[in-house]
Symmetry: C2
Subunit: 496 residues, 2 copies
């Protein structure tokens, strides 16, 4: 009856993975949002059992022949794209020997555990041996992946998060940024030093904060019939496309962090909620990549959320939530949201200095993986680059320096570039929108957000993994990643 | 090295079932407590996939030989008990042909779906054909189980919930109850007709209700580091022993229902939280049976929760939660909690008339499964037994008569007796406690609840599935189920 038996069998396997993965995702969300401390051990065992089960399904020896047979079957374009994505996932799961995966799990667990206390103690020397272990295993993994994919070792690691991304592309983009970013940061800081900004006066009732976050999520099109907002220590967007679980955290003395964090996660959430329903369960229906995912959260947080027209619309809502304050005037809120202040910490960085943190990490982790430098060389490089890019002195401050992120202890090497590529893609999407809708800014100022969502839905969300990232960008905006849009965005917003 | 390779392999299998079942339990709780409506379809598919997976593990053909080999291995007493429980679960999963299970799933889903609207419409005639289908399949299942277990058909169905329970035992116990219960109900109603009871005046803030419930759970020893309280439409005790998830529901105009429901579920919860940790994951560490589980919730709700000494201790807490009211006087609260009023609905029934509802259902579903009566015969029997046992007229009122419970549409036949056996066991446990601690009531009145919890922990909770129900009862209280304790309890509380 069917002309594509191998493909169909693979599709059934992936539906099964999707269904079992659903329980894993919900339990993962629960772990962060609900689980009491004594549930931890049993949950960890359950999650590990499920991870092993899913790994067993993707490494079933029968899949190799089935993938090969499916290549020869008469598949239409989306099915062929789906098969390409299946093979990507299959390769990722099958190329690494089990003992390497296990050694990595142990080394990263040990390193992350040590990092938690050593970071507090500023104990870089203590972390070095454990981090060297993690890096050695990352190099081992990179070498294996690099042979299979025919790319460089660092590219092989980036490929796990951003398929097909090359160091040539990152070098081109970051190289360009490097030319004008430090100067731009200095200029903006100088200019803002003459401004007065009022700080909102707390406390801000958590109930009111929660209501404001939910109201804002509704405004941004989040579907509460297909998702929730809860609280967790580290905000994230989890769950499954059919039931997206956002989290945020509240402080009594400050509300903008939670509000803008929620706006950020809502961008991730709308991507997930609008992946193509008819393909859900298949790799084709998954989000394209981490840089594209980040381009959605940053489209919401930076392009839209810090847009003067949007901020003006939020001002009365904020006043309604907490009572009138001079600090809630639209112009003052806008200043609060676009304050540029070079600092030590990446996650606290503003939109303008953020890429400097990422460029620095890229320029360290790439040679580290390629074997050109060693873990011991990191602090000196860190200090030099922080001085050069952001003009801050980090010498001896490991805690707020190379020990600040959990990524390296966890072996998440090759991920950092995605953050800034996402910011650049977001600027590129909005530039493309403006070309098609010259009155876009006026419409946003009028509270008309549908044009933004429609564009993102048509060009990004529903396209999921159908195209490569470059092809997706070309179809959406007429060109591959072009950092000129990001530069134009920053100059217009901060020097305009 | 090991002398019990078959047993050890089985134990590994059951640990795996426990771990994967953990995710199923948490997702099941989430479904009731959190899930937004559009998540339903994907969740149902995920749950079905997991159920199929777990079923596949227990029906792995290798298990039969392994169980047989393990019988011949040198096992100590708890391991032998564990093996017995493994075999029970294996038999339950393997004795039914897949096509029967599938036909049952379809028939009960259809019947339950129809029941939801037909119940509202009082449409018994409309339900009959679908209920006949469900009963026909239950008879088919009962016949297969009965052949395997060597017991009667109805016993085979009860065995799924209360292993080893015989109709001789139920007949003996319910037959005895039948002698004195209707007279007792009449006497209590007559006596209470002369009493004045004050009804608490609402509204009762939900936040205050939640805090009172949590405070009461703490008082009852619930470990909030190993569990939570949330809200769902139908309260239940879910989650896993390591992380117990209770739910309740709140009404603005009434708080006692939610409070006592929480006390009830806390009884279930403490059983789960105190199952033997060192055996968790093995069948031996699971709760003994549904009647024993119900004996814990009713020990908490009825024996302890409605104990005058406990109620007196609750009175100031209730007043602190909602403000002083004359209705919160201990004696009045006690009257509210022990009000006897024969009615149509089982779930709304008081402690005294509740068993009448169960006896009636037992006397209908037993002959129904044995083929002695048909679905069409139910209403006439129902009306006659309601008149005889409770003195109420249910003619023509199917909605509040045989259509009130979801059990039969779902094929849950053989479960009802557990509710009343649980109430009787609870009375028997407290009678045994009083024999060992003649000052028990004084200690409860002094707010000293530890002796109750210690007794239940030592005699019930930590014993889990180590013994048969009869042996558990004998070890705990010196005798198998003896309804005299329940009678004495009711007479002391309601006629004393």
């Amino acid at each position: 009856m069917t002309a594509t038996p191998a493909y169909d069998a693979l599709a059934t396997t992936w539906t099964r993975l999707h269904r079992l993965g659903h329980l894993q995702s919900i339990a993962g969300w629960d772990q962060s949002a609900n689980m009491p401390p004594k549930g931890n051990e049993a949950r960890a065992a359950a999650m590990a059992e499920m991870a092993a089960l899913l790994h067993g399904i993707v490494t079933d020896p029968a899949l190799a022949a089935r993938l090969q047979a499916a290549e020869a079957e008469p598949l239409d374009e989306p099915r062929r794209a789906n098969l390409r994505e299946m093979r990507r996932r299959w390769r990722a799961a099958n190329v690494l020997p089990t003992d390497l995966v296990e050694r990595q799990q142990m080394a990263t667990a040990r390193c992350e555990h040590a990092w938690r206390t050593q970071r507090e103690a500023n104990d870089w020397a203590g972390l070095v041996p454990k981090l060297k272990e993690v890096v050695a295993l990352a190099r081992e993994e990179a070498a294996l992946l690099s042979d299979t994919l025919g790319v460089s070792r660092y590219e092989a690691l980036m490929d796990r998060y951003e398929p097909g991304l090359t160091t040539a592309q990152v070098d081109r983009v970051f190289g360009e940024l490097r030319q004008w970013l430090p100067g731009l940061i200095r200029k903006v800081v100088e200019r803002q030093s003459r401004e007065t900004v009022l700080v909102p006066q707390g406390p801000f009732a958590r109930d009111a904060q929660r209501r404001l976050c939910e109201e804002t999520m509704r405004l941004l099109g989040f579907d509460f019939d297909a998702g929730r907002l809860d609280v967790s220590t580290h905000p994230f967007c989890g769950g499954v496309p059919e039931d997206v679980r956002l989290t945020t955290r509240f402080r009594d003395d400050e509300f903008l962090g939670s509000l803008m964090g929620t706006v950020h996660e809502t961008g991730h959430a709308r991507y997930e909620q609008n992946l193509p329903r008819e393909w859900l369960g298949q790799p084709l229906a998954e989000a394209r990549s981490m840089a594209i995912h980040e381009s959605q959260s940053l489209s919401f947080e930076m392009q839209l959320g810090c847009h003067p027209g949007f901020v003006a619309g939020m001002a009365p809502r904020i006043a309604a939530a907490f009572g009138e304050q001079p600090a809630f005037a639209p112009a003052n809120l806008q200043k609060l949201l676009t304050r540029v202040k070079p600092g030590f910490i990446r996650v606290d960085a503003d939109e303008v200095s953020y890429p400097a943190h990422v460029i620095l990490r890229y320029e360290i982790e790439r040679p580290l993986v390629e074997g050109e430098i060693e873990v011991e060389d990191i602090p000196a490089l860190w200090d030099a680059k922080m001085a050069e890019l952001l003009g801050v002195d980090t010498r001896g401050n490991f805690k707020d320096g190379p020990m600040q992120d959990v990524h390296w202890p966890l072996g998440l090497i090759g991920y950092f570039p995605c953050y800034s590529l996402g910011a650049m893609y977001a600027a590129q999407w909005f530039a493309a929108m403006r070309r098609g809708m010259p009155d876009l800014d006026a419409r946003i100022a009028a509270g008309e957000l549908a044009p933004v969502f429609d564009w993102l839905r048509d060009n990004i969300w529903t396209q999921a993994s159908r195209w490569s990232t470059d092809e997706l960008a070309r179809r959406a905006s007429g060109e591959v990643l072009n950092p000129a849009h990001f530069r134009a965005h920053l100059e217009a917003r901060y020097l305009g």
